[in-house]
C-alpha cells in the first residue's frame, strides 16, 4: 500500500483548525498506523499553496496520494465521513497489510 500523502488547510488558530488537526492526527495514527505524510498549511501564511488546491472552505483535507485526489472539508469530527473521503472504508477490511494490529482499529470504529 502506498503511503498516504495528505494536506490539511487551516486558517490561523481557530477552534475549527485545532479540532481538525487533532482529529486528523488521531485518525491517521489509528487507521494508517503512522504510515502517512501530513502537511498542515495555514492559508494566512502560505496562500499560494491554497491557490493550487482551490481552497474555499477551511479546514480542508486534501488527499493527494494514493489517487484519486479527494477533499474532505470540516473539522473532521465525523470520522465515518473522513474515512469515506480518504477511501479508507474498503481498504481497512481487505487490504490492510498488517492485520495483526487491527484490533486497535476496530475499537475506535
Amino acid at each position: 500500500m502506498q503511503q498516504h500523502q495528505l494536506r490539511l488547510y487551516v486558517v490561523g488558530q481557530t477552534p475549527n483548525s485545532t479540532r481538525a488537526i487533532e482529529n486528523l492526527r488521531r485518525i491517521c495514527e489509528e487507521q494508517l498506523l503512522g504510515e502517512y505524510d501530513l502537511k498542515v498549511i495555514d492559508v494566512l501564511k502560505e496562500p499560494h499553496l491554497a491557490e493550487q488546491d482551490k481552497i474555499i472552505a477551511t479546514p480542508t483535507l486534501v488527499k493527494e496520494l494514493p489517487p484519486p485526489l479527494r477533499k474532505v472539508i470540516g473539522d473532521l469530527s465525523d470520522i465515518d465521513k473522513v474515512l469515506l473521503g480518504l477511501d479508507l472504508v474498503g481498504a481497512k477490511r481487505n487490504d490492510n497489510p498488517r492485520p495483526e494490529s487491527s484490533p486497535a482499529n476496530e475499537e475506535t470504529k
Binding site: Y9, V43, K54, D75, V82
Partner: protein, 517 residues
C-alpha cells in the same frame, strides 16, 4: 430626523469608467463597499465584473482581483479577449490577480464537521495585497450554493465575505444569478446578506427583440438614477445609454447653416442653427431625400464633412438620385467629405444601431448628419425604445455641435402626421412639413416651416416643384385653407376679406372682445 441628516452626508463613489454607468449611478460604485449585480444567465454580469476591474487598471492605475466561482480563469481570459482586455498581460504587470474557485470536474467534496470560508477570505486578502488592489469582482456567488450542502451556512459565510471585503477597504462588485427578469432579486435570498447596494441587469425579450437594461435598485443612502436604462454589449464591452438621465447641457449656437436651398433658408429666418435637429415630415415621394441631398451637398461644398445614414435606399440608389438632381455625391465621397452608411433597420437592435451611428459620426468627424428615414427605424422598435433612440442620437449630435436632419414619412399622402412626429417632435428644434395639396384636380406640393426654435420663421404654406435642378419653392398658396388637414378648400374672395377684418383693430364701431387680455 437626526439620523436622516447623517445619511445625507457625502457618499464617495468610485468611477467605473464604463460609459454611461457612472452617470446612471451618480458617480459609480459606492467606495469601499460591496455592490450586488444580479441578473439572469446571459445578462452580461461577468463582462461588467471584468470591465470594472480592467477600467480600474487602465484608467486609474488601480489593481484588481477577480474571484471566479463559475468559469475557469482560462475561459474568462479567452472570453474577454474579444473586448481587447488582455488579462494575462495585466497579471504579468502585477496589476491583476485571479482567485480561482471554479468547481473541479468530478470533484466530490465530503463534508465532515464544521467549517467556514476563512480559507477563501484569506486567499482574496492575499491576492488583494499582492496586486495592491482597490477593486474586487466576485463572479458569481450563486455557484457556491451548488457546491455546499448547507445553504444557511453559505449565506452566513457570504455575509462574512462581504464584511471581510469591507475591512480590506476595496470597492467590490459581486454578481449573483437570478431566475426571472422580474421577480426575486437573486436566488437563495442572497441580497440581504451581501450588499447594501443592488444593481439589476436584464435581458428582456420584447417584440422578438432582445433588450438589455440596467437598473439601480438600491444604493443605500446614496443618490442614483431610477428606472431601467438600456445598455449594449459591443466589441468594447458594456455601454449604458443613460437617456433619461441625460442633462440638457448642450451649448446653443447662433451660427446658421444653409439648407442648400435659398428660399427654404429664408423661410427659416436665415437657415438652420449649427447645432439644431431638423425634422422633415412628408409623404412618400414629396422630396424628403432631395432635401437631405441638398443639405449634405451644401455642406460638402463648404468643405464640411457630412454623413448620411440611409435606412431605405442603397448607396447606389442615393448616388443615382443625387446625380439626377445635379449633385455629384461620388466626388464628395472621393474627397472624403461625404460618407454614406446604409443599413437595414432590421439588422440590429435599436441600441446597437445607436452605438454604431455614434461611432460612425465620431470616427468620421461629421459636421452635418442626416438620417433617412427615422420612420424605417420606428418600424423595428417599440415606442419607448424608439424615443430613447432618438433622444440618444439627438443629444449626441447636439453635444458635438453638429446639425442633424432627420426625415419621417407620413402614412397618408395628404395632410396627416406620422407617428414618428408625435413621438419626437418635442425633441427636435425645427420641423418642416412637406405635403401634397390637391387643387383644381391637380396634385401640387406645399412646404411650410412649422417650428423653428429660437427664430422667426415664415408661417406661410408655399407651393414648390421638383425638377432636375432640385426643389423650387414658390409663392404661398393664396385663398386655400385646410392644407395641413389634408382637405384643401378654395376660399372665395369675400371670405378672405372677412377674415382680414377679424384680426384688425376695432372698426366701424365693432369692439373686439378680449383682445387685450
Amino acid at each position: 430626523m437626526a439620523t436622516e441628516t447623517n445619511n445625507t452626508g457625502p457618499f464617495p463613489k468610485v468611477a467605473t469608467g464604463i460609459p454611461g454607468f457612472d452617470l446612471v449611478t451618480d458617480g459609480g460604485l459606492p467606495k469601499g463597499r460591496s455592490t450586488l449585480v444580479s441578473g439572469t444567465s446571459g445578462s452580461a454580469k461577468t463582462i461588467l465584473a471584468v470591465q470594472f476591474l480592467v477600467n480600474g487598471i487602465q484608467n486609474d492605475d488601480e489593481g484588481g482581483v477577480f474571484v471566479t466561482f463559475e468559469e475557469t480563469p482560462d475561459d474568462i481570459a479567452r472570453n474577454v479577449m474579444a473586448f481587447g482586455w488582455d488579462l494575462a498581460a495585466f497579471q504579468k504587470q502585477g496589476q491583476f490577480a485571479i482567485v480561482d474557485v471554479s468547481p473541479e470536474p468530478g470533484g466530490v467534496v465530503v463534508e465532515a464537521g464544521g467549517y467556514d470560508f476563512s480559507g477563501l477570505l484569506a486567499r482574496i486578502e492575499a491576492a488583494v495585497k499582492k496586486v495592491n488592489a482597490r477593486r474586487v469582482s466576485v463572479d458569481s456567488i450563486s455557484a457556491l450554493f451548488s457546491q455546499f450542502a448547507d445553504a444557511g451556512m453559505v449565506r452566513r459565510e457570504l455575509f462574512r465575505l462581504s464584511a471581510g471585503l469591507k475591512k480590506m477597504d476595496v470597492t467590490a462588485l459581486i454578481t449573483a444569478e437570478r431566475v426571472a427578469e422580474y421577480g426575486d432579486i437573486a436566488r437563495h435570498g442572497i441580497e440581504e446578506f451581501v450588499a447594501d447596494n443592488v444593481i439589476i441587469l436584464r435581458n428582456i425579450l420584447q417584440e422578438e427583440k432582445r433588450r438589455r437594461t440596467l437598473e439601480v435598485l438600491k444604493y443605500r443612502g446614496a443618490p442614483h438614477q431610477k428606472g431601467e436604462f438600456p445598455f449594449t454589449v459591443s466589441d468594447r464591452g458594456i455601454e449604458v445609454l443613460p437617456l433619461s438621465a441625460m442633462e440638457l447641457t448642450q451649448k446653443s449656437s447662433n451660427v446658421r447653416l444653409s439648407s442648400g436651398n435659398e428660399v427654404l433658408d429664408g423661410m427659416c429666418g436665415g437657415g438652420f442653427y449649427r447645432d439644431s435637429i431638423i425634422l422633415i415630415s412628408g409623404a412618400t415621394g414629396c422630396g424628403k431625400t432631395l432635401s437631405v441631398t441638398t443639405f449634405l451637398d451644401d455642406g460638402s461644398k463648404r468643405g464640411e464633412k457630412t454623413l448620411v445614414f440611409a435606412f431605405e435606399e442603397s448607396r447606389e440608389q442615393l448616388l443615382r438620385n443625387a446625380i439626377g438632381w445635379g449633385k455629384d455625391f461620388r466626388k464628395w465621397e472621393d474627397e472624403g467629405l461625404l460618407k454614406i452608411v446604409c443599413a437595414y433597420p432590421e439588422t440590429l437592435g435599436l441600441d446597437d444601431h445607436l452605438l454604431r451611428m455614434k461611432r460612425e459620426i465620431e470616427a468620421f468627424g461629421a459636421r452635418r448628419v442626416a438620417v433617412d428615414s427615422l420612420s424605417a427605424m420606428e418600424r423595428v422598435s417599440t415606442g419607448k425604445s424608439f424615443r430613447e433612440f432618438v433622444i440618444g442620437l439627438t443629444s449626441f449630435i447636439k453635444e458635438r455641435e453638429t446639425a442633424g436632419l432627420f426625415t419621417t414619412t407620413t402614412a397618408s399622402l395628404m395632410g396627416g402626421t406620422s407617428v414618428t412626429e408625435e413621438n419626437i417632435s418635442i425633441i427636435t428644434d425645427s420641423i418642416i412639413l412637406m405635403r401634397y395639396v390637391e387643387l383644381m384636380g391637380e396634385m401640387q406640393r406645399g412646404i411650410t416651416v412649422l417650428k423653428m426654435r429660437g427664430s422667426w420663421h415664415d408661417k406661410a404654406i408655399r407651393q414648390y416643384d421638383i425638377d432636375d435642378k432640385g426643389m423650387h419653392i414658390g409663392k404661398p398658396f393664396h385663398n386655400v385653407g385646410g392644407i395641413l388637414a389634408g382637405t384643401p378648400v378654395q376660399v372665395v374672395g369675400g371670405e378672405i376679406e372677412k377674415l382680414d377684418g377679424m384680426f384688425e383693430g376695432p372698426r366701424d364701431g365693432v369692439t373686439v372682445t378680449g383682445a387685450d387680455r
